[in-house]
Amino acid sequence: MNSNLQLDLHPDTDSLSAFAEQALGVAEREQILAHMTRCSRCRQVIYLAQKAVEAEALEALSAMPSGRWYRSWRFAWVPAAALAAALALVVTFYPRHAAPAPEMAKVVPQSAQAAPAPVPQEQASAGIAFKPAPVVAANSVAENKKLAMLRQPPEELALETAPSTASPRGSGTSTHSAGENNSARTPSTKSVQMRTQQEPPAQFNPEPAVDEWQQRQRMTGALSANANTTQASQESMKTAMDRAQAGRSAPAFAVESHTAKQAAPAASFGIDTQEAVSGSAASRNANQPILPSGLAAISTATVRQRMLAIDVAGALFLSEDGGKHWESVARQWTGRATAVRVQAGAGGAVFQLTNVSGFSWTSADGKTWTVQ
């Protein structure tokens, strides 16, 4: 029984703490639970003890160094991949969207070109830059030339106009006076579209035009520039990934070690223990093991060549060769693992794992864990 002076019948402190740590047998646990059902004092004691455990766990977590700037690089691949995907989409679909325009012009009868639609007065008088309508574009070179002659544009414009009517390049390179616009403008989009609807759809075949346009774009270097851009973005993504890897593999933590304090009793067992006892502030060895998770180890324990480490996320790793190679240990405990240590057991040293709630599991080989 505890040392306080209350005369009620309560379980002793040892039993209550063992109850909170799930260290009791079924029968005894049932007894304590039955008592707690009707004893608000003991319930309150356990709640408060539990609260202290949680506060301790939070303290241990907050004592860990906060995320450094380079840690954020681990997520750099997300925007980089999104950017690369967006660029790939643009490169893939941009020519296909641009190409059908010349084919629409293909169905325009010659007579339509001769009868230009009236131009709105304000547009004619404004003297704005001439933007060729998509219908102006012709599939055949002859038509292009004819149109070019009608408009009297510069030569390079005539060559460029055909497939790239939707391209800002072609549209922005030529300027004409209002008079020229008036005389040379071919049928408006509206009129051509109306006519197009009357034509059988089987005639619509944009592929050759697209190919032709792509070839010309390659010649002019536009497409290769796009490809270069994609390559550059991939390289930048790779660089970002490399940086993220570097950030993960070389964390620079402020090390606070309690090893010297802990080592005294362990030394008598001939065991090397490198962790904080009973869930106190997590200690760190100066030589942080590099875990497969890439996260820092908050607690490690070593018996000869066998080494266990818990990373910041609570994952447990086992190394059989003194920390050179690590393997993940399947989770057999509840809650977040916060500490691992070496405990003297009946058959020699055993590992003991503690979670945030203070409950413990033991294992002789570091792989199979049993609740205490």
Partner: protein, 298 residues
């Protein structure tokens, strides 16, 4: 009671070596005596009065936190090295736990200092220094024991001081309201309902009773209850829902059994609980006689 392991037995030698008792100058004989005392006090984890075989004794001893137990006993006996180790390992966590329990740094430090003084054995009885560490039996971890001790101290202090609050402190506005006039005789339907509730609650199991007490009487959250039952809070939520549904169904069944029709039962379930002359807290906390026969040790 089971036989004492002989001092030269391999079991004792192994346990003594593994516990690190030698570091605190604890000889094998003394270690054996401590183990025997702990085992006897707890009936080696068996039913009271049962005789433990050597194998059962060995199993019991292996289940103890021997390193913590030897440290506690060495501290209680005043071993300097043990105290140095204790302070190095437990001082800061103890302060933090006390602060978390009291919710105040000042009160927490005061509570922890007070416990330290007790642990160090400043209190004496019959001229012999007594330390609460002597009562640690190694079932759970020493840190868990310290936390629970702090919590007990705090709860007991809080209850004592509240009980001893002078009447002058009761402001006029805070006076307890006058008792309601004695309620008249309850209608027969409500008496039946009260009877059904009592019968139902008396039948529920310990864990369910604990759930109801923790959730409805203490007002604890699911998150607070879950660690006590070592389950996830979602499980607690499910259990609670199932339990409440079950209780409701059982009450309905009981009422139907009393000869009421369904409509009358539904109407009764809609009754204001305040109309019932029931002390649910009392009903929930009625249980089998206490199995704990221990009284204050000090």
């Amino acid at each position: 009671m089971g036989q004492l392991p002989v001092p030269s037995s391999p079991l004792l030698n192994g346990l003594w070596r593994e516990s690190g008792a030698a570091a605190y100058g604890l000889e094998k004989e003394e270690f054996n005596r401590i183990l025997h005392r702990v085992g006897t006090e707890q009936d080696y984890g068996l039913e009271p009065g049962a005789t433990a075989s050597r194998r059962q004794q060995a199993g019991f001893f292996r289940g103890l936190r021997l390193a913590d137990l030897t440290l506690a006993r060495a501290c209680a006996s005043g071993h300097e090295g043990a105290w140095e180790h204790f302070i190095a390992v437990y001082r800061q966590p103890l302060f933090r736990a006390a602060i978390a329990i009291t919710g105040s740094e000042t009160l927490g430090r005061e509570l922890a200092d007070q416990l330290y003084a007790e642990l160090y054995g400043l209190s004496a009885r019959d001229g012999v220094r007594r330390s609460p560490l002597d009562s640690y039996k190694g079932k759970g971890s020493l840190m868990g024991w310290l936390r629970t001790t702090l919590a007990q101290r705090h709860v007991d202090h809080h209850r004592r001081t509240r009980r001893e609050l002078p009447l002058d402190n009761l402001a006029e506005g805070n006076e307890p309201p006058a008792a309601d006039p004695k309620p008249g005789k309850l209608p027969a339907e409500l008496l039946l309902l009260a009877k059904a509730v009592v019968e139902t609650l008396e039948k529920i199991e310990t864990v369910e009773r604990f759930l109801l007490a923790a959730y409805y009487i203490d007002g604890r959250t699911l998150l607070e209850i879950a660690p006590m039952l070592h389950v996830h809070e979602a499980t607690v939520s499910r259990k609670l829902h199932r339990l409440v549904d079950g209780i409701r169904k059982q009450i309905v069944k009981s009422l139907l059994g009393y000869g009421l029709n369904k409509r009358a039962v539904q109407e009764m379930l809609g009754a204001d609980p305040r109309d019932l002359d029931l002390n649910l807290k009392k009903i929930l906390q009625i249980s089998l006689p206490d199995a704990f026969q221990e009284k204050a040790a000090l």
